[in-house]
Symmetry: D3
C-alpha cells in the first residue's frame, strides 16, 4: 500500500515523468516486496516561485 | 481541529466539489463530535499526467 | 482514485476512527461517483504538542 | 533539515511570497538553531474553490 | 530538488528501509538527471489502524 | 487561512517547539497580513531512521 508524493520542479518532459514513476515503482517493489498495483504516486510540480532554499525563492537564486 | 487534504482527479464539476466538502465535513462531525467550523479541507486536483498506479501514469492507462 | 489524509488530535477511540473512515468514504463515493475500493484514507494523529493555533501549541491553550 | 509546506490562498504578490519565505526561514533558524541552507519551503497556493471551512468552499462564503 | 514523502505500513525492517531510500533515490536521479544530494525522502510509517481502503481500516480487513 | 506543516527531526525541547510555532506564526502574519487565529501549524517529528538525504538514512550518516 505504499503511497508516494513527489515534489519536483516544473520543466521535466512527459517522457521523464513516465520514466520516473516506472523506475520509482520498481524500486519500491524490489525493496518492500510490494505488488506494483498497490504503489500509487502523486506528482506535484512546483514553479521556481513556489520553492525556497535558505529563505530565497529558486527564481531569485543564481 | 481536523484538517483534511483530498487528492482527486481533475474534471469534477464545481457542484460535485461543493457537495464533496459539505458531505465529508458532516461525516467528520458526526464521527468525531467535532464542530463544523473546525473542519478545514484542502482540495488538490491532479491531472492524469500527475498520478501513477503500478508504475504507469493514468494518462497512459486504458 | 481519491486519496485523503486526515490530521486529527489523538484521543479518539478505535470505534470513532472506524466510523470516521466508513462515513467519509461513503461521502466521497456519493459526491464523486467514485468506487469505494478506490478511496484510500491515511489517518495522522497529532498530540496536543504537535498542533498550533495562533502561535500557541494546543497543550498551552486553555 | 526542516522542510515546510505552506498552503495559502492565491492572490499574494511575489513580494509578499519573497518576504514570507525569508522571514519564516529566519524564524525557523532562530528557534531550532538550524542552518538556513537546510530550510526548504514548498509554497502551495489554493484557489478559493479549493479550500473549505465548515463544509463550504471559500468561494461561497460571504 | 525532488522531495519525496513515502507512506508505508509499519513492520518493514531497517534493512528494507535502507534499501528503499537507496533504490528510490537512484531511480529519481536516473529519471530526472538530479544530483543525489538534492533528493530528500521522508518515510511515514502507518499502523494498520491508520490506513483505510474502501471505508475499512486495514486492521479490520481479512 | 495559511496552514503549515513542518517536518523536523526529533530531539528538540518543548521550549524550542513553543518558540518555533510562535515565531513562525508571527512571520506569516507580518508577511501576508494574516490574522494569527487563522494560522495553523502541524509539527511532524521524524526519527533519524525516517529521513534520507542522498539515498542514506540520517541514522547512517556520519
Amino acid at each position: 500500500m505504499p503511497i508516494l508524493q513527489i515534489h519536483l520542479l516544473q520543466g521535466r518532459t512527459l517522457e521523464q515523468k513516465k520514466r520516473l514513476v516506472k523506475e520509482v515503482t520498481e524500486a519500491v517493489c524490489r525493496s518492500l516486496d510490494a505488488q506494483p498495483e498497490q504503489v500509487r504516486i502523486i506528482l506535484a510540480e512546483m514553479a521556481r516561485e513556489e520553492y525556497s532554499i535558505a529563505g530565497t525563492l529558486l527564481s531569485d537564486r543564481p
